[in-house]
Amino acid sequence: MNGSTIVFYLLGLMSIVSAVLSVTSRQIFRSAIYLLFTLIGIAGLYFWMDYQFIAAVQIVVYVGGIAVLIIFSIFLTQQSGEQLPEVPVSRAVAGAIAVMSGLALVLVLMDRYGFSGLSDPGPAPSVAAIGEKMLDINGYALPFEVVSILLLAAMVGCIVIAMRKKSQV
């Protein structure tokens, strides 16, 4: 067991523990902060796999963008210090049973299939290769443009939905 293995287990443990806290915490603000730690742990896993570009995108978009957006919307919609109502026991138990059986099914299937993978995968693709493939006409040029239009539409749509109507002022 060398250093890199220990780092992997620490990152995985951090992601999973803070994810559990994030879905069970009754303080909504704490729940958002735990989600932030999960996202950072996942970015660390990408760094561990040598996918630096994806890790950087994860940090910029999720940690810097979506988490901050969620925290701001909590400020806008939640009374500070107010706790979320307790989850009814029946719903929590039903959810836990459904989740446990689903997880057991998936783990058994993965174990049966026995994903072996390569023990020594080659180096991760460089950022230059990703950029060239992104703008290659036989690569991902069309999805790239479609996503840009989607982002523009989402931006305009958000402004229209969240805008206060003149009559309501």
Partner: protein
């Protein structure tokens, strides 16, 4: 069970995070926390894509591209969802899913 981290370990982490997200989605009744659970689910899928890309097809880039596009779409989805949540809060003073029920009619 091998201790050395490999494809299987990443798939286990992805599956566990996915089902934690499902649990949050089933038990929470607050729209923002449900949105956070959805983000967890999307992230677990991204881990799977990157792990498959690294350990099964190391020469290709398709897993990375799927991840980048999923992140872009998740950002758009979160922005639109939060705009809707803020609008709902403005009209109902609550972001519980049960008050959004009347959208059905």
């Amino acid at each position: 069970m091998n201790v050395e981290p490999g494809l299987f370990h990443f798939l286990v982490i992805g599956a566990v995070l996915f089902f934690i997200g499902i649990y949050g989605f089933l038990t929470r009744r607050n729209l923002i926390t449900m949105l956070m659970s959805v983000e967890l689910i999307l992230n677990s899928v991204n881990i799977n894509f990157i792990a498959f890309n690294k350990y099964l097809w190391p020469g290709t880039l398709d897993g990375s591209f799927f991840t980048v596009f999923i992140i872009a779409i998740a950002a758009a989805e979160a922005a639109v969802a939060i705009a809707i949540i803020i609008n709902l809060f403005r009209s109902h003073q609550s972001i519980n899913v049960e008050v959004a029920e009347e959208m059905k009619y």
